[in-house]
Homo-oligomer: 155 residues x 2
Amino acid sequence: MAGLVFRRATRDDLEAIVDMLVDDYIGAKREDGSRPLNAKYVAAFDAIAADPNQFLLVVEEAGEIVGSLQLSFIPGIARLGMWRGQIEGVRIKTSRRGGGLGHKMLDWAIAQCRAKGCELVQLAMDKSREDTLRFYESLGFKASHEGLKLDLTRG
Amino acid sequence: MAGLVFRRATRDDLEAIVDMLVDDYIGAKREDGSRPLNAKYVAAFDAIAADPNQFLLVVEEAGEIVGSLQLSFIPGIARLGMWRGQIEGVRIKTSRRGGGLGHKMLDWAIAQCRAKGCELVQLAMDKSREDTLRFYESLGFKASHEGLKLDLTRG
């Protein structure tokens, strides 16, 4: 895996990021891979870019985007004013899955959280992604919490 | 429950918020209720206040703080650029537990998320808080995700 570049996403990366979201058994149902890009994705990118506590990562290899994730740095009062790093939207290009790239991306994300002074890294994973739990546990994550979601688009 | 005021916390509310964190079977182990307040709490309050995507709520009744929670509004690319509302640090004064105040606070939080354009509200709850799961399910939350945590203070 020589030649992997970890960097902040630019607007030019957005099509590649959306393509990875679409190419996922959960994402396929709720994303829009059409061109030109749905304006909602562009607005979301701009909101992330404008927020200094958000970092949208892309991993580039030989000019191709092969992975992406979003880091959010969240201040809080609890645990002596502890900052949390939160990971969302971990996606890896289908052709690159199973080769250790996810591990490198998570190692990178955890290091960023440490550098920002976070004492906890958290994420929520869909319980239907069975292999994913073992992956995160291998990195030291504990499934100590229930991840609860309330869909506001229903009713 | 006439006379409940839902408002953004000020620095003057911070001692009352910390007291609620300390007065909790999990919080007791990891918070500091001493006076003057640990400077880490004050720094965290200032970080929250400086971030337009954070809202630290207090509920006041007859001049007394009886509840608190933190809302985070998080932009994201997935699900057509969906914004998430995230709830952390829900705390209710011991003497006021079991009387429906938590329900009113969550209703308030969910309404704020709708007003901000969020399509999902999410939170993670410690699996050891058994009654809490039923409470959130009664509000419509689904325990569809594993809430994973990595403690960076160990090793």
